[in-house]
Symmetry: C2
Subunit: 469 residues, 2 copies
């Protein structure tokens, strides 16, 4: 793909994903096919969350005074908040913010709900639209003014230890989610100057798009007691004493869909991970006058059979030549194509083509068809994931010389370097290279002899630097 940005905009349009011609910059319409992908993506995530979270739904609007309570937090967002100031023709007494994220909407209610240690832990999530008045150049699904699919979880705990564990659990949950989608990631602890406003620390997942830029696709924040103190959220412990709770929160955005599309797609169109593909199988009947009815009947019966096993199937019986159907199927990224013509019925066989690698193989049209298809689908999931992870791994290189970093990044690399962990060095590295530090990838061993790429002093961490979205 020569020009990723052009390809991406093109596929959003041709693939019936998003229409960005909506008359407000940075806000787009989800089209039917895109909406289906979004629906299955959410279903997968809900399944993971529902294991031990409860789903709730908070109002969109946040009163000015609640938003302003947590000083560091509001500072991080104040430039980006949309304000409702009028109702009808009247000025409102109190401005209302469109949530940029929901901490300040949710935590005042936590302080009403949480009374005792038996109310803890509490783990809620919601899927909502959030808003950022972006001044930078917007891009559909990547940098938007209405995040239409913000998935945010908020947890409350009795102890610091348990809260830290929850951060780890959330990281594991996100890994599982990304693995199903074949989205490769690199995890890092964001540097101090780039953590979530109000958080103790932020763990972040970045992926790599084909243009060599990293994209932040998920974050997990340990809020410790900062918000609990601001919003006065206390509980009575087993000894009858009142303590502040510990909190974590974690979120994902529309960028999940951007990654699914951007990482797996190719010149022929979308390549969808089976779990979120609106259809798993497109059956393409090869139609001739004499045998038309017979072939279509068989296609219908195969469809029903596969559907009864939970496989999502479409028959493309349009009156156009098969070549055009193949083209459309490739564009839509459905994992499998089955061709069924009169000869196949005679031989009781079908050709199955995989969208990810375009491999085409013959399979018997017998009782094993369901199992064979399930097997191929599961293989596709694995192969898409390992291919994508390999691409990411190949892009990560260690570098000892700060002067070489810009060249490497221009060649679409993510650079690992040794860092003394000081803010001053970090900021100097960013300034000298012109790129952003993603964060701390690994802590170095006490006995390591690594020297900081900038200061030459003993390094504490392996850190990541890249060109970011």
């Amino acid at each position: 793909m020569e020009n990723f940005s052009e390809w991406f905009h093109d596929i959003l349009d041709k693939g019936n994903i998003i229409d960005s011609r909506y008359p407000i910059k940075g806000m787009s319409v989800w089209l039917p096919y895109g909406f289906q992908i979004r629906r299955y993506t959410l279903e997968l995530l809900k399944e993971l969350f529902d294991r031990d979270h409860e789903e709730v739904l908070f109002p969109l609007l946040v009163p000015e005074d609640e938003l302003a309570k947590e000083g560091i937090h509001v500072k991080g967002f104040e430039e980006e908040v949309y304000w409702v100031t009028k109702g009808g023709n009247k000025e409102l007494n109190k401005k209302l913010a469109l949530r940029p994220t929901s901490e300040t909407a949710i935590y005042p209610m936590f302080s009403l709900w949480i009374r005792s240690h038996i109310d803890l832990p509490l783990k809620y999530y919601q899927i909502v639209n959030t808003f950022r008045y972006e001044t930078k150049h917007t891009r559909p699904l990547i940098r938007v003014r209405e995040i239409s699919t913000f998935k945010e979880a908020h947890t409350a705990h009795a102890t610091k230890e348990e809260c830290k564990k929850q951060v780890e659990k959330a990281v594991e949950l996100y890994k599982e989610f990304f693995d199903y989608l074949g989205i490769p990631y690199i995890l890092s602890k964001r540097p101090e100057w780039d953590k979530f406003p109000g958080a103790d620390y932020t763990m972040a997942f970045d992926t790599l798009l084909p243009d060599g830029k990293t994209l932040q696709i998920g974050t997990v924040h340990n809020l410790d007691q900062t918000f609990a103190k601001t919003f006065d959220i206390t509980f009575e412990n087993e000894n009858g004493e009142h303590e502040y709770i510990y909190q974590s929160c974690y979120g994902l955005s529309d960028r999940i869909i951007a990654s699914i599309i951007g990482i797996h797609g190719n010149e022929k169109g979308l390549v969808l991970p089976p779990v979120v593909s609106p259809k798993h199988v497109t059956i393409i009947p090869i139609l001739f006058k004499d045998t038309r009815e017979k072939v279509l009947e068989r296609c219908e019966s195969i469809k029903k059979e596969l559907e009864s096993a939970g496989i999502r199937v479409d028959i493309d019986d349009r009156d156009i030549r098969p070549g055009k159907k193949f083209y459309d199927w490739e564009l839509k990224g459905t994992p499998l194509r089955l061709e069924i013509g009169p000869k196949d019925l005679e031989n009781n066989k079908t050709f199955i083509t995989r969208r990810d690698n375009l491999e085409k193989n013959e399979y018997p049209l017998d009782d094993n068809l369901i199992e064979n298809i399930k097997e191929i689908i599961s293989q596709i999931t694995k192969d898409m994931s390992s291919k994508a992870f390999k691409d990411l791994k190949d892009a990560i290189v260690y570098c000892e010389n700060i002067e070489k970093i810009p060249e490497l990044i221009k060649n679409k690399k993510i650079v690992v370097f040794s860092w003394d962990g000081k803010n001053s060095s970090g900021e100097a590295i960013e300034e000298e290279t012109g790129y952003d530090i993603l964060g701390i990838h690994k802590e170095l061993d006490e006995n390591s002899n690594d020297k900081c790429i900038y200061s030459g002093e003993k390094a504490k961490y392996l850190a990541l630097i890249a060109k970011t979205y």
Copy 2:
């Protein structure tokens, strides 16, 4: 239920449905149990819509100039629109409305998408939050400032005839939806002065809450070509000529959940229609020291068995006395309760209690259990619906004397009266009685001798009048 309003607020709280203490008037938080009811309600509706509609998602914000384009429409909403005027600290060049409904967000895109007759019919729906700056007294789920679950469909057609048919189809779809929920309805054509702003005509569903007030729960609008002309939505017909499309739209709100709760509930708590109940069955193990493990094991195996048949099951194994569990189960409104104790295991029997009528019967713990439970669930659905429809039917009375209307309505009746169909008579009837005309219930036969209750002239319609929410 002596005081419905008090009961309703109480059950929203105790039932873990909604918390209305959120610090903005008319905006509430969906709590976990309420959210589950909402989720299953939406799943049911999506299933019905997905038969021949496609789901999409439009941005929340509507630019001022688009909202203002359709004059009659904007006049109907201008007092109620929330306006975003600031982004960060900057005044926006163009004010942005929080959608009060989405016609003006969607139709500019229709004019881009619809080109030819082959693009028609087009049937889209979305489920979104919408906003009304209500100046009247707000009530959770009934009169709110953020409608958190607005389900709106928008269709486009090549002919007037087909559009009219779609209105009828939408009415049928809504009837089917209400029937599953056991929500009784009365259908009427809204009078001219109460139709949707911009519509040719509006068909509306009203239900009756226990306090004798009717609640509008669904509307279907024939927009004819009004919006098509405003937003310049044309298509090329088969003869190559450009014509305006015909449009319909129809919507449902959070009031669906208000009706489910208000109509079926009683002093003991919620009574949920099986289709939307988070659980269908609560198993209550009767636990004694010796047999505890054995009983719990059996409960688990029954749970698994039922779940494999698509029945949603909960085991209440808390260490509290069964009486308290019964109380909670009744409050939550789960359709069925199964009691299983050591004696039941010996006799291979269980007592099943229905929440709707509290009937308790013994059933064998054998292979027929699944079928028996499915049968009871289906019976409960039917019984809840017929009871509710009977209550509504009993409340509808015909009245020939305008002076008697207020007394009847005070006694929680919906009054049917004969009407000449003139706006002037209609408005006079509303003024004289102090109540609202819902609309035209039936057209009278040409040969009917009915006289208008107000003018004494030949009546054209049977119309409905009631105390409305």
